[in-house]
């Protein structure tokens, strides 16, 4: 059975859930969207480069049966989206934990 939509569904769920958490708790990341993008971008590029080299080096490969089939260099589109969606999630839980446990320190 073809499950080509599976990985993109997970990524949509991550983005949707993260946006929701931002809205519910009125967190900074979504309110400072340009700051968010500018801080995610350099990290994304480094880790995408790592992923590209790892695939070239044969560390791992993708099973395209679970993906849309759009390939950027040697990465499925969903994997590229991963490196933007997941940092957004990470920053959100960081801000969330600052809000609830943090204070200044």
């Amino acid at each position: 059975m073809s499950m080509f939509w599976e990985y993109s569904l997970y990524m949509l769920a991550v983005v949707f859930g993260t946006v929701l958490v931002n809205l519910v708790f009125r967190l900074k990341p979504l309110r400072k969207i340009r700051l968010l993008i500018s801080s995610i971008l350099p990290v994304s590029l480094i880790f995408i480069l790592w992923d590209v080299l790892a695939v070239y080096g044969g560390h791992w490969s993708f099973n395209m049966g679970h993906m849309l089939g759009i390939v950027v260099i040697n990465q499925p589109l969903e994997e590229v989206v991963f490196f933007f969606a997941v940092p957004f999630y990470y920053i959100t839980i960081w801000e969330l934990s600052k809000k609830f446990f943090g204070g200044k320190k």
Partner: protein
């Protein structure tokens, strides 16, 4: 060669170095551990789900061979490195670029 394992260690060391060079020092804050715990918990669930579904083919020659319980241990280190780097970048930008990006 356990290249994936070594790359993870290099990435973590580099992140630690940047955390101090950029004076963000996020890893010494208690909130770092709470957020990291949540990040790892999520990764354990989602990564193992996707690995079980057969998204990835891992080359066992490039890693230690320790599985937690399905994904390679190195995937967790990769996740920690991504988390750590992202938080450093976010805190650095928040402190130093807040006026640039209103």
């Amino acid at each position: 060669m356990i290249e994936y394992t070594l790359l993870c260690i290099v990435a973590l060391a580099a992140a630690y170095l940047f955390d101090h060079l950029l004076k963000t020092r996020v890893s010494s804050r208690r909130t770092f551990l709470y957020a990291l715990a949540l990040a790892l918990l999520t990764q354990l669930v989602v990564d193992n789900l996707t690995a079980w579904r057969g998204f990835w083919n891992f080359n066992r020659d490039m890693m230690l061979g320790v599985r937690v319980p399905v994904i390679p241990l190195e995937n967790l280190l990769f996740g920690i490195a991504l988390f750590y780097s992202t938080i450093i970048s976010w805190e650095f930008s928040s402190r130093n670029l807040a006026n640039v990006f209103k």
